[in-house]
Symmetry: C2
Subunit: 337 residues, 2 copies
DNA sequence: GTGAAAGCGCTAACAT
DNA sequence: ATGTTAGCGCTTTCAC
């Protein structure tokens, strides 16, 4: 009860042998006699000896901990990513320590400082929406700490990246909408700050072009939150030339969109189709259920972690920067024709 | 570029003074001359000196890290809790390291081992659904590591706990349904393993009794997943004496419930009311939007973390075990009359 | 087969 | 005002 953790020294004293012998015995080194090993192991087990990771870390100047910088934990996509990372890290016997930027550049900067001084062996990061300056990440690199960006990457920094294939996800979804007969597809996107938003827009535009359809900027408003949807979608529906499909940048906006469309007396999908992006828990709750692009967050998390740990293990062989792309998958439900 | 982190020794050598002087200068101790302080600070800043937390930890035998054991990160409620914990920890300059039990007792046990050997200064834990044996938590206590249970607590272990007020949340919601004229309220609950499930059932039953309504076990099936809802709800709707309200143990089931009811041609809430539990992102996506009990996960996380950090700081004064209860809040939307 | 000693980076008690 | 030393727990080189 209430005992302090036992150390090698304690074991050595109790058994009247030297600390180094205890250390070696516990590591099962061949030079130690079986007899000694047995008595050391027995004592250690009985007293629940646990190596002090702080001391170990001090010697090797590293702990087996990986830092994660994530914009917002409470987000289906990001929590899936986190979950994937956690599982993979655990499998490889790494711990994770998590910092949340809350979409704020200042907190993101602080997070890199925290992780660096926590001497993590590597960092996984996804940019906050407000980040426009990247010195803090360059500092991570300069500090010899391996860095992998995931999802919201920073192209200016020369390091590994894992992203969702937003372009193709968006392209395929748009093409699917076209194939079901939609002629005028609105794109509810996000601001130009994040690359993912632009990639999705480009996928959408290219799909339209490929099928000889006009790209009409007037039906491509910035609309990435439910409250924006409540302003923007009604306005679009009231136009004489209203859209016959909405492709939304996330499931929340898509679900809001469905409800607004219905409140105008239109039917989904007969009159107007709706497609989302994420495939979160919302997608099955809407009525009709939501056709959406699965972002595969869990897999992205796993792969980003794998990549980082790979770097840590084969630290010497410095192959060039790796860019991984996670294929998305269109999940067709009932909100599209 | 690629420089190893600089240490006190390096600074001392460069400035030709002793390590301890450097240490003291950086801590702004009064005994050091202003001149020395200035040159030390300048050098430290230029070379981005960061104290080595491993070394600090080794001396004090603690790092400022708190361990969290959580059943599943990808869960609106738990990710809210996590988010609250993270924020509070950051505010108090603690790091968090997270382990996921994935509802598996073995991984939960492993998590306690990991956290203990990581020498965390305290642990926040929520039980996995399958946990039936609690020695690993007793070991945490015996190890002198402060432990706070949150949400899914373990009554057998004598330590602090923070829970959601499931009983009253459920009682109030039921009473609200009654007040709107519902006469026959079905309760879609979970199995008896977790205390939270029983508390909610009791709140429901007591509200019925208080208002002189019968407690009918035939309309209280176990139904805590969408797939169960798809079996159970239709069956209830086909009875001659069908319920005129459903109170579901989580928002997912409630949303599924709404959709099934509508598919039977009934109107929500005119014919049948539906109430959920959580107030997650789903609640605004359903049509009609969902009346539900807000579990206040973020606040629960904040408070649990506060409690733990309080213990860490005032480590000496051993007041008795603290039990905190987070008040829930009924969020009335459109799925109830 | 085992022990002694140095050192990882830092702090604090004890010099001077 | 500054330096020296010991020690946190562990590994590892060097001795015996």
């Amino acid at each position: 009860m209430g005992k302090k953790q036992i150390t090698l020294k304690d074991i050595a004293k109790a058994l009247d042998i030297s600390i180094s012998t205890v250390s070696r015995a516990l590591k099962d080194l061949p030079e130690i006699s079986e007899e000694t090993k047995i008595k050391v192991r027995k004592f250690a087990k009985e007293h629940k000896y646990k190596p002090n990771v702080l001391a170990l870390g001090l010697r090797t100047n590293t702990n087996n901990t990986i830092g994660i910088i994530i914009p917002e934990i409470v987000h289906y996509f990001f929590s899936s990513v986190l979950s994937g990372m956690q599982e993979e890290a655990e499998k490889e016997d790494y711990n994770i320590i998590i910092c949340q930027s809350n979409e704020d550049q200042l907190r993101e900067v602080k997070a890199t400082q925290i992780l660096l001084s926590a001497k993590v062996c590597g960092i996984l990061a996804s940019l906050s929406k407000t980040t426009t300056e990247f010195d803090h990440f360059q500092e991570v690199i300069d500090n010899d700490t391996p860095l992998v960006f995931f999802d919201r990457i920073c192209t200016g920094i020369n390091t590994d990246k894992v992203v969702v294939d937003d372009y193709n996800g968006s392209y395929n979804a748009t093409e699917y909408l076209i194939s079901t007969g939609c002629k005028r597809i609105a794109f509810l996107g996000a601001g130009p700050n994040l690359a993912i938003s632009n990639n999705r827009r480009m996928g959408y535009e290219d799909a339209l072009r490929k099928h000889g359809m006009p790209v009409d900027k007037t039906i491509m408003p910035i609309c990435d939150t439910i409250s924006l949807a409540k302003e923007v979608v009604p306005e679009l529906l009231l136009r004489t030339n209203r859209p016959d499909a909405f492709f939304a940048i996330n499931d929340e906006v898509a679900s809001s969109c469905i409800n607004i469309i219905k409140s105008f007396g239109y039917h989904v999908p007969q009159d107007i189709s709706v497609c989302g992006f994420t495939n979160g828990n919302i997608a099955e709750a809407t009525d009709p259920s939501l056709t959406t692009v699965d972002q595969r967050g869990h897999e992205l998390g796993t792969i980003a972690m794998e990549l980082l740990i790979g770097r840590l293990k084969g630290k010497e062989k410095k192959e060039g920067v790796v860019n991984k792309i996670i294929r998305t998958k269109l999940i067709v439900r009932e909100s599209t024709k």
